[in-house]
Each structure stands twice: as structure tokens, then as C-alpha cells.
Amino acid sequence: MYNILLGGAAGDGIETMSAIFEKMLKQSGCHLFTIRDFMSRVRGGHNFTQIRFGNQPFHAHRDTLNGIFAIDETTYLEHQSRLSYDGFILCDESLAIDDFRAIKCPLKKTAANLGNPKVINSVATGALLKLFDMPLDQAADILKASLRDDLVEVNLSAIKMGYDLLNATHHLSPVETSEQLLLSGNTAIGLGAVAAGIRFYSAYPMSPSTSLLDFFNAQSSAMAIAVEQAEDEIAAINMAIGAAYAGATAMTGTSGGGFSLMVEALGFAGIAEIPLVAVDVQRPGPATGFPTRTEQSDLKFVISASQGEFPRMVIALRDHADCFYQTARSLALAKKYQLPVILLSDQYLADSTTTVPLFDVNKIVHFDQPGPMVPATDDLPYQRYALTENGISPLAIPGKSPALVRVDSDEHDPWGQITESATIRNQMVNKRQNKLNALKEELIEPEFWGSHQCQSLLVGFGSTSGAIKEAIDILNQNENNYGALIFGDIYPLPTERLRHFAAQVVDIINVEQNATGQLASLIREEALINCDHSILKYDGRQLSVDDILNGIKNLKGGF
């Protein structure tokens, strides 16, 4: 297993180089997990990608580096303290880096000799492939799939020349990766929505959700999805609501700032009982915050967003497989219970790429509304909000039957007519809340990881899942004393497994990417269980396995 970092300024092409290098690693039989750390600027500054690869699957990043490719001195200065003693720094011979670990190569000169100074990254890619003893046979195909036609040949030459600059020093035995996908969290969300039959996506560009909008735009014609880049997030969610009312499987996506604008309409979807999925790809707030960085600080916000009371569901996405399967599930649940479902992701998950087992479309549960059970007539008009035992009213789609479908942001009677009746108000509030009782029956309990005899329980949610699990594995090598519960379904909060372990353990430690311990607060509120300690991070950089291990060490002393 190796962990390398590619760094340079925005505009230096690190992102393109990384994407190509990752594909080559995967085709050479590696699993990998790549995080992207970039600044909110188009040129300059310092950006890097960090690629962890080897012959087993990875679900998180680690801090210690085995190698750095430095386009500039800044990359070296920023990260050399994380480079292991036997690690390397690959850089151009002209860089002022005085370090015994440096491998200085004529990267610039080689690129210049090829007549295009910009192919320096491909020269470096070739050099890295050689260092790790990877074959070159896939390079041509990967470049063809990744670059403009006229750039393929020169970059291929650059990779070959870079390959010849060095000798192989690192070796990995390849594994079968032909049934593995290589994609980002946002791409996995997009694919999950496509598999669930999404027909309408509306959004306003906002980091780190924008790549979802780009994905749907790219797939619009082939996958029959109307994609609207709305004038603002208010329009985006109101469009999704309109499309869902007219029978289209609809979704909107944004980050916290845009979600703030969507809040009133979220309540509209609640009272009008519109099946709607809204994705909040979180970034550090408040306000503009850290546009391109990560945080899990919208949890309590999305749980309580919008005035008034209405049922909703919140699912925290834990990894790339969750992004696919839970997105599809959220669209089915939104239809089944006719309510808004919020998917919580974050920049870390959205932008990280990893190898993940091929998604199985057959595992997706679809939910097709049976339509109005009672045929509407003049004497018996369709009741959009018919009072039923479980609160779920048969849903008709306008234009599909003689039933007239009337929905309201006002309180309404069963026919969808505005009312101010106290009796009907009580009936309607109860009916809507009632839907949660049925929904609670099919909540998925948090994933348990670790020793069932654990004395210390870590609790977390969403994208910190991979790091928590790996930290548990490492902790349990010393003393088989640790377990973790990692929440996906988070609102309503499933509490059965939590109660079971809380009764058994000595202490509970909440691990969260926020400053105030929002999960601990929710657990206290919903289950009357207190967390004893917290490991919190809110600097915009994702909690690593190492951060969690250090946190435990600080709490419990050395081990």
C-alpha cells in the first residue's frame, strides 16, 4: 500500500494528471482512494490530490506519505513533514529542494524537447508509473478517453519518455479490478438517481454540488433527464416540486448556502406531500464559509429547516456505494411516503474518487404509486389528501386520469381546498406525522464495526465512516475493545442498536466533522443517551484515520 501526493498551483493541471494516473493505477490492478484538496480559485494558490493505492480496497485517506510529486517548491514545503523517511519527492531538476529524498529529473527539458512544455505532468506520470513498476500498455487507451484527440500523441510520448527516466523501486502485486468502478461520490449519486429513474434535476451551481449538475447535463439526452440550471436555488427546488407533482421523478442538489434558500419550499413539499429528494453536499459554513472544503455541520439544520412541523427523512451518505444505493432508495422512499428526503453528503465524499464494486441495478427498490384507488366522479371527486390509517393518501398524477389533483402550500382539506377549520387542521397534521410511524419501521440501523464485546463505542455518521472503521481495526489490534456505530439513516434516528451498545459500553465517543457535536446532540435528544467524549474537527480538512487515533490517544493515554 502506498500513499502519494501530487501538488501544484491551480491551473497546473494536477487534476487532469491525477485522473489519468488513477485510471492507470486501476487498470494495472490497484484499488485506490483519492482525495482532492483545492482552493476556491481558478489559477495560482496550492492544490493537491492525494492517492492511496494498493491491492486491497480503501475507504479513507491516511496522513503519512510515501511519495510527493511537486510541481513547485510550495508543494514540498507544505507536505514534506508528512513524507516518510524512506519516501521520495519527484520534481524537476530546476526546483530548489534540498532534501536527500528528492528525485530530481529533467521533466521540463523532456517536455520542451517534445515541443509542448505543458506535457510536463505526463512526463512525471510516466516516471511515477516506472517508480511503482506499473505497465504502460493501457496508457494509449486511457489518454484517448481522457484528452482531446490532438493531445493524445504528445502526451503518450511524454509518458514513455518519463518512464525511461527512472528505475522501478516499488512493487505491488496486482489484483483483479475489472469488476470495480472508479468514480467520485457525486458521480455515484448521479448514477443512483439514473438507476432510480430520475427524469428531472434542477440546481444552481454551487461547490461542492456542481459536479452533480454537470453529470446530469452530460446524461440529459441519453438518460431522458430534463436538467434545469435555475436562476437561484429557490427556483431550483420549486421546479423540482412542480415536476414531481406532474409525475416526474425529481431531485435538486446544492450545498448549505443554497439549501438555506430552499428552506421555505422544503416545508411546501412537506405540507403538499410532494415526493422530493434534495441533496445537500455540505461545505464549511456559515454563509460562504470554505467553498471548496468539507464539513458535517448541516445535520441539525436540515433536520429542522423550514417553519412549522412536517415529516421528513434525512440520510447521511457514508461512502461511494451509499451514494449510489441510498440515492436510489431515497427517491423510492420519497414517493412511497410522499415527503421530502434530504441526502447529506459533503465535499470529501463528493470529490474523492475510489474503486468500488460494480453497482447492481437489480438491487434497487423501485416504488410505483398505485394511483387513486377510488375513481373520481363528479359526485365523488378525487381526494388528494384522503385520510387513511397510515397517513399515506393514494397519489394521482394530473392528466393521467379524470381525477383533478389539487395541492396547496396552505392547510387544506382532503380535496386539496384551502381550509381554516380547526378540525381538519388537526386531522391533516396528524395524517402527515403519521407517515413517520410507517417510515420508522423500515429505517436502517447504523452499521456496527468492531468488537461486539467493545467497552468503548465510537459514533459517527456520513463520510467519516471509512476513517472510523479503519481506526477501529487498528485500535482492536492492540486491545479488542472498540466498536463503532456509523449512521446512514439519521433522521428519524434509529436507536435500537444504539441503545443496545450504550447499555454495554463504558464510554461513548462521538466523532464528527463539526465544532459542536451535532450527532451527539441529536442522540441526546432522540435517545436520552449522552456521549462521554468528542473527537471533532472543523478546519475544512477531513478527519483522517490518524486524527481519530490521535484523538483516542489524547482521551485515553498512550497505547
Binding site: L181, A195, G197, A243, A246, A248, F268, V361, D410, G416
Partner: protein
């Protein structure tokens, strides 16, 4: 005689409100169309005008204040077979929903927008709307604009609207003609309907409009945008009513024939093997 397809319910409007004439005219126009009520969606935001859909037997979507246009556009996108008509007020359309007004004109989805423009906020009892007259220090009125008065027709023309009309609730024949033409127009169609608010607007009364409105005559060429802009700027002793501007332009759906054919988007189905092929492209 058969019972008409579209009928009305009791309303919650003030006696004498201009909305009655609009409701009656709209119901008549809908009954002239060959479209059955279940193929018509009446969309509203919030306000007295926005309640219109509550009072006609059709599909009804009563959304949020200012947000009727994006919802209406998406309803039409999801099912191109539906006839989608927005009824809402000047505050909803031009104030709270100003941004959506601009961008739904640009979007040019085939929806119809009837703005019941009484130049005042009625439901909240008498505050100035974007279209209220400018304040005159000599003649202090309860509801007037300290800032500039919003000219919806001029803005619509500037934003590229392809059907821009004005009518008056006191001239039902004219209003019916405008409504029918707007519904028939492929693309976004705006009819700004002058309408007295009997409870709160003591300036722009029925008599005020009656004296000033003047139907455009045959000399006006509705395909001439400059002429339309000139007419849009006329609002004083005479107020021109009629189709100021109309142009045939590709609609939102026309530009995406692969999404908008004879199967409504909401009913489209992508074969599972196509989805699997897409997923496998990430191997």
C-alpha cells in the same frame, strides 16, 4: 344543454373585486378550449389573485409566494400534454417573484401567465406593489411607490418575451380574446390584466381604468418590437390594451426534441441495459 366542463366554486374575494370578472372570463375561455379539465393545471402563488385556481374545476397547484412560475414551467416540462396557466398578482409576479419573472421569460416554456394587476397588495391590506403609481407629494395616497414604478411589459420585452399583452377586467370580451390568444401562443405568454382593488386602491379604480384603456388599433404591428416598446411605455392618460408584441420563437421543448416528443417526459423509461452500460463506462 350539457353542463360546462369547467365550473366555479364560491370565492373568498371582496364583493365587487375585479377578480370575479377574470374568473368568469377565464372559465368561459377554458370551456371554449377542447382541453378537458384534467389536462389543465392552474398554478398560483400567494395573494388574492393566486386563489383563482381554488375556484375552478381543474387541476390546481397553489404554491409559494412568488414561486409559481418555476413550478409551472417544471409541470409543463414534466408533462408537455398539460395546459399550464398561472394566475397570480402583481406583488407575487413582479415583487417576490421578480427574478423568476425574468428568467422564465428567457426559459420560454409553453406556459401562460395571467397577472391580475391591481397595483396594490390586497391580501395584506393596502401596501404598495411594484406597479403602484409613483408617490406625488401634493396628492398623498396610501399606497404609492417612493421608488420607480415597475413596468412589467417593458421588462418582459427587454427580457425577450414572445407574447406580451395587456387587458382590463372591465372589458370581458377583450380579456377573453387576450386569454385565448395567450393560451394558444407557443411559449411563455404574459397578459398583464388591469383590475381594480375595490377595498384598498382608491386611485386606480374601475372608472380610472375605464377612462384610460384604449384597445390597440389595426395600425399597431405586433411583430414590431420597437413599436411594442413604445406602447409599453405608454401608461397615463391613455393605457393601450391588446397584444403589444407576439413573435414565433422556438420554445423550450422545441429545442430538445429528444426529450419532448409524443411521450411526456415523466412517462419516459430508460432501458435497464442502457443504465448498466452507463455504469460500466466507469470501470
Amino acid at each position: 344543454m350539457n353542463k360546462p366542463a369547467f365550473t366555479t366554486y364560491d370565492t373568498a374575494w371582496c364583493p365587487g373585486c375585479g377578480n370575479y370578472a377574470i374568473l368568469e372570463t377565464l372559465t368561459g375561455v377554458l370551456n371554449q378550449l377542447a382541453t378537458p379539465p384534467h389536462q389543465v393545471v392552474l398554478v398560483g402563488g400567494i395573494g388574492q389573485a393566486a386563489k383563482t385556481n381554488q375556484y375552478i374545476t381543474a387541476n390546481g397547484f397553489s404554491g409559494l409566494h412568488g414561486r409559481s412560475l418555476p413550478a409551472a414551467a417544471a409541470i409543463k416540462i414534466a408533462n408537455n400534454d398539460l395546459t399550464v396557466i398561472v394566475n397570480t398578482g402583481d406583488g407575487d409576479s413582479y415583487g417576490e417573484g421578480g427574478n423568476h419573472f425574468l428568467h422564465n421569460i428567457r426559459r420560454n416554456v409553453d406556459i401562460t401567465h395571467f397577472v391580475h394587476d391591481n397595483q396594490i397588495y390586497g391580501l395584506t391590506k393596502g401596501q404598495p406593489s411594484p406597479t403602484s403609481d409613483p408617490c406625488d407629494p401634493l396628492h398623498k395616497a396610501a399606497a404609492c411607490n417612493m421608488g420607480a414604478t415597475f413596468n412589467p411589459l417593458l421588462v418582459a420585452l427587454a427580457a425577450g418575451a414572445t407574447f406580451v399583452a395587456r387587458s382590463f377586467s372591465g372589458d370581458k370580451k377583450h380579456l377573453a380574446d387576450m386569454m385565448a390568444a395567450a393560451i394558444k401562443h407557443p411559449g411563455y405568454a404574459l397578459v398583464d390584466i388591469l383590475q381594480p382593488c375595490v377595498s384598498f386602491n382608491k386611485i386606480n379604480t374601475f372608472a380610472y381604468y375605464k377612462q384610460r384603456v384604449k384597445p390597440l388599433d389595426d395600425r399597431h404591428d405586433p411583430t414590431n418590437k420597437l413599436a411594442a416598446i413604445e406602447k409599453a411605455m405608454e401608461f397615463g392618460d391613455t393605457i393601450p390594451i391588446g397584444i403589444l408584441y407576439q413573435q414565433a420563437t422556438p420554445t423550450y421543448a422545441d429545442k430538445r426534441p429528444e426529450l419532448f416528443d409524443n411521450i411526456p417526459l415523466a412517462d419516459k423509461h430508460v432501458p435497464q441495459n442502457a443504465i448498466e452500460t452507463l455504469i460500466k463506462s466507469y470501470i
